[in-house]
């Protein structure tokens, strides 16, 4: 009998694919409602301009959110992402201004900066065994400081026009930015990596228990190191994109977006304690926070109120799952008790 009870709670549900159930489904539903309500009630929201502006505004967040989701699922955190992007931007500016190299080579070198920054984080965390929170708080300041050393308080802005135009170009009349192709590739890469490879599944195990993961043969240090290299690489990609989009390389580029990224990742259902979360959920989380901010701004909600709304949303998203989990468990236990009582009184329990 007890076996049946356990089976009941874990039984696979028919209908929706697995990733569309549970928390992900709620986030997607909320996102749809926000979009619908905005279309109906916010002036100027329902237009192709919205698609373009909104998507371009969230590009940096959604890109970094992908590797960040994997890092948080594996029980770590990377706070240095925005500074890595800033450092990349500074290096890009100086290389373009002083080296005379082709812009393609400059961009490749910039991505290597990100790989190096990520590898340095990874080295400190895995080889020296330091906590990622402490390490990346340190490199958050370090990389931003290096950016200032590299470029000073100057700006470089004379990037090739075709490239800066491309960064905000739209696909035909759809209003969808061309850069979304790159974003989709990155999402697909990390989605497949997390959900369809042994490496990705290992990250969940890692997030639940490092010791257990080691026992079942996951190379913990190896996995973590490459995760930090991945956040470094994607952050530098964002640094390059940021520089081109604003046609301006400076040391203060992308300041503070690490918190927006982490907020969106948590809103997307990734557990800050590790071991839980999905890529579709994170994508929905980023879109939800982006759309809500965009719609509220368009509805002329003051900026100060807006920060309160997004802050409250984040708290709800963190408290919500554990609260509903607790309630669900209470309901289940009550039902089990009722059923057991009913069955025992009717005599079926003897079977």
């Amino acid at each position: 009998m007890s076996e049946t009870l356990i089976d009941t709670s874990a039984a696979p549900k028919r209908g929706l694919p697995r990733w569309l159930r549970g928390n992900d489904a709620i986030i997607f539903a909320v996102l749809l409602v926000v979009i619908l309500v905005s279309c109906i009630s916010v002036k100027n929201f329902a237009s192709t301009l919205t698609v373009g502006f909104l998507l371009i505004q969230i590009v940096p967040i959604i890109l970094i959110a992908m590797p960040m989701a994997l890092v948080i699922i594996s029980g770590e955190i990377d706070l240095s992402v925005a500074s890595t992007a800033g450092l990349t931007s500074a290096v890009m500016g100086v290389l373009w201004r002083d080296s005379g190299l082709d812009i393609g080579i400059v961009i490749v070198l910039c991505l290597l900066v990100g790989v190096a920054a990520g590898a340095f984080n990874g080295f400190l965390i895995t080889t020296l065994g330091l906590p990622s929170l402490a390490v990346t708080i340190g490199t958050l300041a370090l990389y931003r400081g290096l950016a200032l050393v590299v470029i000073g308080d100057g700006k470089v802005s004379n990037f090739p026009t075709w490239l800066t135009d491309l960064s905000t170009a739209k696909i035909g009349a759809t209003g969808i930015p061309v850069v979304m192709i790159l974003v989709l590739v990155v999402i697909a890469f990390f989605g497949v990596l997390l959900h369809f490879t042994p490496f990705g599944r290992g990250l969940y195990a890692l997030g639940f228990s490092k010791e257990a993961a080691t026992f079942v043969g996951i190379r913990v240090g190896h996995a973590k190191f490459w995760l930090f290299v991945a956040t470094g690489l994607v952050s530098s990609l964002v640094g390059v994109y940021w520089t081109l989009r604003f046609a301006s390389a400076g040391p203060d580029n992308a300041t503070g977006i690490e918190l927006s990224v982490i907020a969106a990742v948590l809103l997307g259902g990734v557990s800050i304690f590790g071991g839980k979360g999905t890529i579709p959920g994170v994508v929905a989380g980023v879109l939800l926070i982006g759309t809500l901010t965009y719609a509220l701004r368009l509805a002329k909600v003051p900026e100060t109120t807006l920060t309160i709304v997004t802050g409250a949303l984040l708290v709800i998203s963190v408290v919500g799952p554990s609260l509903t989990g607790w309630i669900r468990e209470r309901i289940r236990l009550a039902r089990v008790r009722r059923e057991v009582q009913r069955l025992s009184t009717s005599g079926h329990i003897s079977a």
Binding site: V30, V33, V42, F53, E303
Partner: protein
């Protein structure tokens, strides 16, 4: 057994549905409150109905006292013109934080965007999009790259700032002239050094100022205490000193404080650049006759009128174009599309109570 299974499944599904409904309700409530607020805002904004257009002010950041005065002038002008005006902006003055607001203004179909750029280039691509959508771009306070705007409204030109101070001290010293000194900010302050250079050049070249003799320039480092001591030192070292020019708000206030408590009160002229609110008591007690500063409200005022002139085609941003900026009269577009608001405003006992900044 089978019955049990089904009831279990639908039970947990119900729990999930309750959670989903709760989340939806919360988000609907959020958006609805947002929209209620917006309804009020737009109804007051576009009260004109057949408004000649809409103007959006994008300061470097919101909630800055200086910005508030500038925008006050902008709102006054927008009201006179009949524009529906709104102000958008970030809470922090970072390079790229303005961009989402430019995009928002574009989406709302703003006819005129008046912007004080945090970064001359970072706002470029989005201003380009705004122009493609038909908006006229007026930069004020802090210019963008000239490629991205139609005109730039500048508060003052450095030469005017220098000369107005010399003019005031000359008037206050009278026909006999005398020795004067300058109490500046720091020795490396770019603005102050530029103004002082114009003062020195004018003293050397203009025969009207032949009887005025600049004896020294001292530096109070924009520190009230140091400026106070420097003012004290000047009067000890140069007993024949007849006047002091302090081209910095900290310096003039400190010097006025010293003079007002000394025997030199009313005998040594003091002028320069000061804030009306800080200088009011010294003007009233006779320590200071007249000083100057630009009126930030005029900046917003002229910017709004420049936007109107661009919109109705009076000006295109070409050198030599002229337009009428309400009460401030005719303004001319100079080289590089720069419009100068005008010479600094002079404050004296007659008008100081009209200003609050």
């Amino acid at each position: 057994m089978e019955l049990f299974h089904i009831s279990g499944g639908s039970g947990s599904r119900r729990g999930r549905r309750i959670a989903a409904v709760a989340a939806l309700a919360a988000s609907v409530a959020l958006v609805a409150t947002g929209c209620a607020g917006s309804g009020d805002a737009t109804s007051t904004d576009s009260a004109g109905g057949d408004s000649p257009g809409s103007i959006v002010f994008l300061p470097k950041q919101l909630n800055n006292p200086y910005t508030d005065v500038v925008l006050g002038g902008g709102d006054t002008a927008a009201g006179e013109i009949g524009f529906s005006a709104s102000t958008l902006g970030p809470l922090e003055a970072s390079a790229s934080a303005q961009v989402p607001f430019i995009e928002q203004a574009t989406q709302e179909g703003a006819n005129v965007i008046v912007i004080a750029a945090n970064d001359p280039d970072a706002v470029g691509p989005s201003l380009k999009q705004a122009r493609e959508a038909g908006a006229k771009i007026v930069a004020f306070d802090s210019d963008t790259n000239p490629d991205f705007r139609d005109v730039f409204v500048s508060q003052v030109v450095a030469k005017d700032v220098g000369l107005v101070q010399l003019e005031m001290i000359s008037k206050q010293l009278g026909a006999e002239g005398g020795d004067i000194a300058i109490l500046s900010a720091t020795a490396t302050a770019t603005n102050q050094n530029e103004w002082i250079k114009y003062i020195e050049d004018e003293l050397a070249s203009n025969p009207d100022y032949a009887n005025i003799n600049l004896v020294t320039t001292v530096y109070g480092d924009d520190d009230a205490d140091k400026s106070f001591k420097e003012a004290q030192g000047l009067l000890q070292s140069y007993p024949n000193l007849k006047g002091i020019i302090s081209p910095t708000t900290v310096g003039i206030a400190a010097a006025a404080k010293y003079l007002s408590t000394s025997d030199y009160k009313g005998k040594v002229a003091l002028t320069g650049l000061g804030l009306p609110n800080e200088m009011r008591e010294f003007v009233k007690d006779g320590t200071v006759t007249e000083f100057a500063l630009w009126d930030p409200a005029q900046l917003g005022y002229v910017a709004a009128y420049a936007g109107q002139a661009l919109l109705d085609g009076t000006i295109t941003g070409a050198e030599g174009d002229t337009f009428t900026a309400g009460d401030l009269g005719e303004k001319t577009v100079g080289a590089d599309g720069i419009i100068v608001v005008g010479p600094p405003t002079k404050f004296n006992a007659d008008n100081i109570d009209d200003y609050d900044f």
